[in-house]
């Protein structure tokens, strides 16, 4: 499996800090800012059930807290009257909810077929090597970079395609990898 940002969680499965539903603890209770709460309230008016707001609420949580911790799971569950274990089950189904802190730049390299035909795997490996021999999903010591492999980003005409956080980058090759990484600093 191409890991996703959650890969470290599996490696930390025996970590005493993991909660009953398996999420990592951030060590303190969390709550939305007033602005986030306002967005959350507005969300609820857009769906016939409270539960339907789960994915968008998790997005707000990720924006607010950076990643989905045990405390974030419990908090979102209480906001939506859902069981924390259910929320965690949803979190783990989707690849984009970070289950551990990620670097300032989450570098997502597409290695699906069109990007593969353009040499994406080499770019992915070289990118990790250049940033300090990072393992898939591992974050650099300075907290700046996390590199993961992702599936098709719907930019196949611009292969190899890379996304950093929410921004799209096109035609990242071994030749221009250095200048691409330079720009991220």
């Amino acid at each position: 499996m191409s890991g996703g940002a959650g890969t470290p969680v599996a490696e930390l499965a025996g970590n005493p800090r993991t909660g009953e539903h398996g999420a990592l603890s951030c060590g303190h209770p969390v709550a939305f800012s007033p602005a986030a709460l306002e967005r959350f309230e507005a969300l609820l008016t857009r769906y016939p059930t409270k539960q339907a707001a789960l994915l968008p609420t998790l997005w707000i949580a990720q924006e607010e807290f950076g990643w989905i911790s045990r405390e974030a799971v419990d908090y979102v569950a209480s906001l939506l009257d859902l069981a924390p274990a259910f929320v965690w089950g949803v979190v783990t189904f989707y690849t984009m909810y970070n289950r551990a802190p990620v670097g300032k730049h989450l570098i997502q390299v597409c290695t699906s077929i069109s990007c593969h035909l353009a040499g994406a795997e080499k770019v992915y490996h070289e990118c990790r090597r250049k940033l300090g021999d990072l393992k898939p999903g591992e974050t650099s010591l300075d907290g700046k970079y996390t590199v993961i492999e992702v599936e098709c980003l719907a930019q196949c005409d611009k292969a190899p395609a890379v996304m950093v956080n929410g921004d799209d980058y096109e035609r990242i090759t071994l030749e221009n990898l250095d200048s691409f990484l330079e720009k991220l600093k």
């Binding site: 016939p48 339907a52 994915l55 998790l58 949803v90 077929i113 035909l117 980003l153």
Partner: protein
């Protein structure tokens, strides 16, 4: 071909093409206003809109090519559905490897999509429609949200629109990274706030979909076509295609080894060789080897098989593949086919939702075997084992057709390029490589696979 005027991409490259103002200046929302103006008098009825779409011959652009007008008629009439609302879900999950047409529509002409949704909502008596956009399209979601806000401000969404008595809300809903959520029932589960597990059909979404209410799921490009059918009429739309069963303008996503990869609009049914010429031909003037005509799920075709194929639903089906999402992945003579198939098998192993045993167990297994073949550790029997395992995963053994999609690349490429797979095995460094393959199938797994989806 050269005198073809783009329809879906007509506004591509225009300044501020995402803004309501420019959209309206280009004649946008004329159909929506026309329908709203005639709603009270009965000049425009839901049935009339549906009939126009039916008459156009429009077939869904999301992959299956199901006739759109017919799908809409599966929604039970008011007398039968009672108080239940009807939902329209615009499928903008676009995650099939090789596909990037919906992204272009979203990022360059969002109001075109919204107008299509408005007209479809009128036809289906929908009061709240949603766009399910894949989580990765962060920018696309922002553009759609801005367009929706503009439409509300202009009175094109909201209550009693332009005094017509028609109400309509549109909400943009972001996914969070899961290919399977493009499958319509998984999409429904996902929008309800659950894991994206496809549902057993029946009931079909048109009868019981989102929140147990009648639901229609349509692709972004399909809904854009609806707008143009209402603008210019079904006869105009039909005249564009190759024949009555394959009508209208079509977006082709061409990637891989071509000179100019990109989204190309052409009349439905353009010959593959003409499409290839539009893209400047095979990269570096090299020879064409194979093509995936409709996304990673579509069986691969060799150069000989595809050159003369009309790129429409029936044309590609006749060549024993499928048009799918019209994601045309071109592979030249330098392509290592076993590696390409291994790559695609990785995708499916990663994306299986895990509900059905043949799919959950079979997809990683195919990937594992392919990896050992291309890593020089394959055994002679592995090539047949691939076909054997893939042969047990499809044909209705599973809840959704993902499993059929997952085996298509293997079942097409292995026989067609068998020599390449065998060459890998022949070079295998593994001691005892010519012995029969060890059974990867433990008796327990075999039993579970035989039980199929019910385990």
């Amino acid at each position: 071909m050269s005198d073809y005027q783009p329809v879906l991409l007509a506004r591509l490259g225009k300044k501020s093409s995402c803004a309501l103002e420019t959209y309206v200046a280009d004649g946008g929302y004329a159909s929506w206003k026309k329908v709203l103006a005639g709603a009270k008098s009965g000049e425009w009825t839901p049935a009339k809109v549906t009939d126009l779409v039916k008459a156009s011959g429009l077939r869904g652009r999301g992959g299956a090519g199901f006739p759109t007008g017919m799908k809409w008629t599966f929604v039970p009439p008011k007398e039968k559905r009672g108080d239940k609302p009807v939902y329209l879900l615009c499928n903008a999950d676009e995650s099939e490897p090789g596909t990037f047409k919906d992204r272009l529509l979203i990022e360059t002409d969002p109001h075109q999509i919204l107008e299509g949704m408005m007209l479809a909502s009128f036809a289906l008596e929908v009061k709240h429609a949603y766009v399910y956009i894949r989580g990765e399209m962060v920018h696309g979601a922002e553009i759609l949200n801005a367009a929706v806000a503009e439409a509300y401000a202009a009175g094109l969404l909201g209550r009693d629109l332009l005094g017509s008595g028609v109400d309509l809300d549109v909400t943009i809903h972001r996914g969070a990274g899961a290919y399977i959520c493009g499958e319509e029932t998984a999409l429904i589960e996902s929008i309800e706030g659950k894991r994206g597990h496809p549902r057993i059909k029946p009931p079909f979404p048109a009868v019981s979909g989102a929140w147990n209410a009648p639901t229609v799921v349509n692709n972004v490009e399909t809904l854009c076509c609806v707008k143009h059918i209402l603008d210019r009429g079904p006869d105009w739309f039909k005249a564009i295609g190759r024949n009555d069963r394959n009508t209208g303008p079509k977006l082709y996503c061409v990637s891989g080894h071509v000179e100019k990869p990109g989204v190309y609009e052409a009349p439905m049914g353009i010959l593959f060789k003409d499409l290839l010429a539009m893209c400047g031909g095979v990269k570096g003037g090299r020879k064409l080897k194979a093509v995936i005509p409709g996304g990673a799920s579509a069986p691969m075709l060799t150069a000989d098989e595809i050159l003369e194929v009309p790129m429409d639903f029936d044309g590609v089906a006749a060549a024993k593949s499928m048009l799918g999402s019209a994601a045309v992945v071109v592979m030249d003579e330098t392509t290592d086919m076993p590696k390409a198939v291994t790559n695609i098998s990785k995708f499916f192993a990663h994306e299986s939702c895990g509900q059905c045993t043949p799919c959950r167990e079979g997809t990683p297994w195919l990937n594992k075997m392919l990896k050992r073949i291309v890593n020089g550790e394959g055994r002679q029997a592995d090539v047949d084992l691939l076909l054997q395992v893939a042969g047990q995963m499809g044909n209705g053994m599973t809840i959704c057709v993902f499993a059929d999609a997952a085996i298509a690349p293997v079942l097409s490429a292995v026989p067609k390029f068998r020599a390449e797979f065998e060459a890998y095995v022949a070079r295998s460094k593994k001691p005892g490589f010519d012995e029969p393959a060890p059974s990867d199938i433990t008796p327990k797994v075999a039993e579970r696979m035989a039980e199929g989806m019910h385990s």
